[in-house]
């Protein structure tokens, strides 16, 4: 909607989630379960709450191996296999302690069983995973697991309070790709040290954190000792940003999902990972608050989320007044209010830019996808023209459009080539935009684009194959040397989506498919020709692959998954088939 451009909504969302009583209720649940041994499952007003305990053992926070205590998900176990991957196809890094706690729950409790039961019995009723402190990190992993398993038609929701950072940039990318960002709400109080802690080098936080930790567990520690430790911890966290030490690499941890920043002036939600990272740093300090007060607050706020939320509610009941509003721009005022709500002050223009940048990116992505949608409509005409081309070839010339195109004997073939190129340009552009993150993160899983891409591939890839074999070296193979990336990517999108679709029972066909389902079929035919030639020249090892191809065709043909044009008299396939039968006859014992 065009109003996206003019207004911000971060505060409205945050305020409504607190005012409606959901977050206070969730915090209550989390407190109740904080001392439990393992997870707790409660149902209240048709919502299931799965809660994880807060402070278990110090060594889970500070795992003493690896530079940033990150475990590599992929090599450890298979709970997340295949989907928590970065855009470089490498597995995301995950905090080792949280991972260990999660694995314990998965392997040593009835957690899995209960979640599976819940998914079948309460299919349409919502479930929330909840955790405070490191419990929040465990809740996050549990949510990622349920999301990845696609156990429920309604996706689970995750709420954390004062949760430390869980994973790296690859995790951010994986979550963005799946469009799961909206399923995570991380509530972070302005001064709470824990959500920022892992931004500092590990060695620097071990000592102070070890001193502070017992205090949160309710153990009496002398005030002065605590104060000193807090001071040190705070300094290291602030330093990690303001003076990057060149020889120690900065922390790999990155925030993902939606962050709700709370302060005594209000609350606002932010979704963009790099903006959140900025805010995690800047909200921690402010001019009005002295360093000593921050030292005090960074310890206390971690365990006082009930109070933090109550302040947000009281703010919304009282209302806020601006002494001297100065802008007439809705967007600018919205940003100023948001900055004020999260407690960094409306005058921080640099941070206003960061918020605006996040908004602009989203807006741009929406504009892009809207433009592409209109263009897709226009490209339907090119598709229709090629469909028509296929029919003319079959009905008037009794030839498969593949062969007609490969021969390029006629004006209509030349025109078809122009259309092929136009469509290729369109899809190449889409894929390029997708890879440059210029499209919404859920683009590749939207049915509309998956179906359009699939329709394109089925109709036009045979022409790309024909073009390849018409022009390429005789020894090149389309599948390994010539297949364009757009076809590979579009095919992967379809396959990814199929995994998420509840298995649809494929009804047996009664008529041949109008377009061959396997878009590389003609490439196999071309290769079979080459194999047959080679075989005739005495390369007997080709026999096996020819027999395999023959078997494949028989199977596909019986399942009616090959279009009838393949079997037109005189088609490349039929010629091959005759030649192959001849060979078999000649060589039958």
């Amino acid at each position: 909607m065009a109003t996206d451009q003019l207004f911000t909504v971060g505060q409205e969302i945050a305020t409504s989630l607190v005012s409606c009583g959901m977050l206070p209720k969730v915090w209550e649940e989390s407190l109740r379960a904080s001392k439990a041994e393992s997870f707790t499952l409660n149902e209240y007003e048709n919502v299931a709450y799965v809660t994880f305990p807060s402070f278990q053992r110090l060594e889970h926070y500070l795992v003493n191996e690896g530079e940033y205590r990150e475990g590599n998900v992929q090599t450890e176990h298979n709970f997340f296999s295949g989907y928590l991957m970065g855009n470089d196809d490498k597995p995301a890094l995950i905090h080792q302690g949280a991972l260990t706690l999660f694995l314990d729950i998965m392997e040593q409790t009835d957690f899995q069983e209960k979640i599976y039961t819940d998914a079948t019995q309460r299919q349409l009723k919502p479930i929330i995973f909840v955790g405070h402190s490191l419990g929040g990190a465990v809740a996050t992993l549990a949510t990622l697991w349920v999301l990845g398993k696609r156990l429920r038609s309604d996706s689970p929701f995750c709420i954390t309070f004062g949760c430390p950072l869980v994973g790296d940039q690859r995790l951010v990318e994986a979550v963005g790709r799946e469009n799961w960002g909206g399923n995570f709400c991380h509530v972070v109080s302005k001064h709470d040290i824990v959500p920022r802690m892992f931004l500092a080098p590990f060695e620097s936080i071990v000592q102070p954190f070890t001193t502070i930790f017992p205090y949160w567990q309710g153990i009496n520690v002398s005030d002065s000792v605590i104060q000193g430790a807090c001071r040190a911890l705070l300094n290291h966290v602030l330093d990690s940003r303001s003076s990057p030490v060149l020889d120690s690499p900065s922390s790999p941890y990155r925030p993902f999902g939606t962050y709700m920043f709370c302060s005594s002036s209000g609350a606002a939600c932010i979704e963009n990972s790099s903006t959140i990272l900025e805010m995690l740093h800047w909200t921690l300090q402010s001019q009005e608050t002295s360093f000593d007060e921050i030292v005090q607050a960074c310890l206390l706020e971690h365990i006082r989320y009930g109070f933090v939320l109550e302040e947000v509610i009281q703010n919304s009941i009282r209302g806020r007044r601006l002494a001297n509003p100065s802008s007439e721009s809705s967007y600018q005022m919205g940003i100023s209010l948001e900055l004020e709500a999260i407690g960094v002050g409306a005058e921080r223009e640099d941070l206003g830019h960061a918020l605006r940048r996040a908004g602009d990116t989203e807006k741009e992505r929406k504009t892009n996808v809207h433009k592409l949608a209109i263009e897709l409509g226009q490209k339907q005409c090119n598709m229709a023209e090629l469909e028509w081309y296929k029919e003319v070839c079959e009905k008037k010339h009794y030839a498969a459009y593949y062969d007609s195109f490969k021969n390029q004997n006629d004006k209509k073939d030349i025109e078809a080539n122009e259309r092929r190129l136009k469509l290729a340009g369109f899809w190449d552009e889409i894929i390029e935009m997708w890879e440059k993150h210029e499209l919404p993160s859920d683009f590749q899983s939207q049915n509309k684009w998956i179906n359009a891409g699939n329709a394109y591939r089925r109709l036009v890839e045979p022409l790309d194959i024909a073009y390849f074999y018409r022009t390429a070296d005789a020894n090149k193979n389309y599948y390994s040397d010539g297949r364009h990336r757009r076809h590979k990517v579009l095919q992967r999108w379809l396959e990814d989506k199929e995994k998420t679709r509840s298995s649809r029972v494929q009804r047996p066909r009664t008529k041949p498919a109008s377009l061959t389902e396997d878009t590389c079929f003609w490439a196999y035919v071309e290769e079979a020709w080459k194999d047959l030639e080679n075989l005739k020249e005495g390369q007997h090892q080709r026999l096996q692959s020819l027999e395999q191809f023959e078997q494949y065709v028989t199977n596909m043909k019986n399942a009616l998954r090959i279009s009838s044009d393949v079997f037109l008299e005189g088609s490349s396939f039929m010629l091959w088939s005759e030649s192959w039968e001849e060979y078999k006859r000649d060589h039958s014992p």
Partner: protein, 618 residues
């Protein structure tokens, strides 16, 4: 204000208040309504009601049953929900024959009827109005004025009221700090305890004031009960939740967090409908933009700088405050450029500035100003989108429609129906051009329906606009047969299933619903088309059965029913069905052979087979 709304004059509003407060008199304790003829042709009914605690649902909502608000349903045929307590009180009164008889008699005599009420009495008045609106005559003759009205209807009702253009027949007068008018935004349980004390208190106050009217004794004002701070905070908090949530959802409809949270939070279902008059002691502001009402209900109730007792007292103080505020009514129509700063306020009508300040919506309340601007922007965008469509229509849609009309005629001249010509695609370029026209139109309507209409980016009454219903219907009747032909030509039924259950594009379903909900007759188009765009889908499914030689009575009866309905309503175009070697003809001939003579005798297909234009086939 529109012409018809001039009934909401300050003098009528005062009269309505007088009558609404008079029902509290001890002498009327056994009556639930009072009738008064204010002037010739104008009859006012005032109701007394009470907030009946209800624990069946979280907010006391109840989905209405057949016979009430039948014309108010959403796109999925869901019925509206209203507050059950209000509904049961209204039905009590309505079912008493003397009341119903009186109202209908007054109405039939040509009187204008105004229903009014204070507090829950306003809720009953609103329901009475809705009941009578379903049968009102033109020009508008039924109106509603409420005081301290708690929202009692859900989103479906609110949309229905706007779609049917009833909004200007409701005027809800609400005092800035009247907490009761927001009370149903909070869960019943969260306020039930304090209400046990407050409801009787409000009732006593109203009664003692009503009884003292005309007497010289000024009643001793009873102080409001204590311990109200928490109660007020609870109501404001839930007001904030609903207002913030709806604002966010409206400004960022695709926000993933909002989508994920939706099933988790059960907010109050009640949404405003009708016009609102927000009053303070210095004046009043009339709000027509429904998107602005919730934000005002919330922001004007915020407690900063307020005296807590006001929140309770104002519910019963309309009598004191209205005389002043009705003197000074301003209308706030364009909200999208409401000033945000002093510099901007310079250009604003100072009376509006004063009234906004008096409601706590001055420029210092920046979040409130932004929410109002957003509300204005949504409506503005909707009407801009509409005018773009109006401008584009002749350019983009008329040509392909004309070409497809011509295609159909050309096919008939060549002795085929256009369905079969298109499906078989044997004659070349003409059919191909028709396909391009079909695709062009599909793209356009998909854009309108999926990207605009479904996302609330067009005015609420778009689907009731005669020219658009006509255009959509014409498009559907002419072009959907081609979509069906294409579907079966490409064997998509093999991939996905029958067209009707698995392949019918949403645009056609939506357009058909628009027509079904449209109440007036449409202008008949110049050419006569088959008035059931799905007939061909049944025919194609039968053709598939024919190929497999699987005759089934039920399928035949389905087709007969469709044909019969069309014959009865003169919606059949035999030419399209029977010209040349049509699929329809083949299928019907096959069916005919499978039927018993008794079936044949009763069959709706008989009249087509023996149609005068056709030579008998059998």
């Amino acid at each position: 204000m529109g012409e018809s709304v001039s009934v909401f004059s300050p003098s009528l509003l005062s009269d309505a208040w007088e009558l609404s407060s008079s029902v509290y008199k001890s002498q009327y304790v056994n009556c639930s309504y009072v009738r008064s003829v204010i002037r010739s042709n104008l009859v006012v009914f005032a109701f007394r009601g009470s907030l009946i605690p209800n624990s069946a649902t979280k907010y006391g909502e109840y989905q209405v049953k057949d016979g009430f608000l039948d014309g108010v349903k959403d796109g999925n045929n869901q019925r509206a929900s209203v507050h059950q307590g209000a509904l049961s009180q209204f039905e009590d009164i309505w079912s008493r024959s003397d009341f119903q008889k009186q109202v209908i008699e007054d109405h039939e005599k040509g009187n204008t009827i105004v229903f009014t009420g204070h507090s829950m009495g306003g809720g009953i008045a609103a329901l009475a109005t809705l009941r009578m609106l379903e049968k009102q005559r033109q020009p508008k003759s039924v109106f509603c004025i409420t005081f301290g009205f708690p929202l009692i209807g859900d989103e479906i009702l609110a949309r229905g009221v706007r779609r049917k253009k009833w909004a200007d027949q409701f005027c809800h007068v609400v005092l800035r700090r009247d907490v009761f008018s927001r009370i149903l935004l909070a869960p019943s349980i969260s306020v039930s305890k304090p209400l046990e004390v407050l409801l009787p208190y409000w009732n006593r106050s109203m009664q003692s004031r009503a009884d003292s009217v005309g007497s010289t004794d000024i009643p001793m004002a009873e102080a409001p009960p204590g311990g109200i701070a928490e109660f007020v905070a609870t109501v404001v908090q839930h007001c904030s939740a609903v207002s913030n949530y709806t604002s966010a959802a409206k400004m960022s409809p695709n926000n993933p967090l909002i989508a994920a949270v939706k099933p988790l939070v059960k907010l109050s279902p009640y949404r405003p409908f009708g016009y609102y008059l927000f009053c303070s002691s210095s004046g009043a502001i009339l709000i027509e933009n429904h998107y602005a009402v919730l934000p005002i209900l919330y922001f004007s109730l915020q407690t900063l700088g307020a005296n807590l007792e006001d929140f309770i007292l104002q519910h019963v103080n309309y009598g004191y405050i209205l005389p002043n505020s009705l003197q000074n009514i301003v209308k706030l129509s364009e909200l999208s450029d409401l000033p945000l700063s002093d510099a901007g306020s310079v250009h604003q009508d100072s009376r509006i500035t004063t009234q906004l300040d008096a409601l706590g919506l001055g420029i210092q309340n920046c979040p409130a100003r932004l929410a109002l601007r957003a509300a204005g922007q949504v409506l503005k965008q909707q009407s801009e989108n509409l005018s773009i469509l109006e401008k584009e229509y002749p350019k983009k849609m008329e040509t392909p429609m004309d070409k497809l009309e011509e295609y159909r005629l050309q096919c008939l001249r060549n002795d085929t129906g256009y369905f079969d010509a298109f499906k078989k695609k044997q004659r070349g370029n003409v059919d191909f051009q028709a396909n391009l026209n079909r695709l062009e139109l599909a793209g356009w309507w998909d854009e309108i329906i999926q990207n605009k209409f479904d996302k609330d980016e067009l005015p609420d009454d778009f689907q009731c606009k005669k020219e658009w219903v006509t255009r959509g219907t014409h498009y559907r009747l002419l072009v959907e047969p081609l979509d069906i032909a294409n579907y079966y030509r490409l064997g998509k039924n093999e991939d996905s299933g029958p067209y009707l259950t698995h392949g019918r594009p949403r645009r056609y379903k939506t357009l058909q619903k628009w027509l079904e909900n449209y109440e007036e007759p449409l202008q008949s188009p110049s050419t006569k088309l088959i008035q059931d765009s799905c007939l061909w889908a049944d025919v194609e499914e039968l053709a598939c059965s024919m190929q497999k030689n699987e005759y089934k009575d039920e399928k035949r009866i389905d087709l007969e029913n469709r044909v019969r309905a069309l014959t009865d309503s003169h919606g059949l175009c035999v030419e399209d069905l029977m010209t040349g070697e049509s699929t329809f003809k083949t299928v019907v001939n096959w069916l005919w052979k499978q039927m018993t003579p008794v079936d044949q005798e009763a069959s709706a297909l008989r009249s087509i087979i023996y149609h005068p234009q056709q030579t008998p086939q059998i």
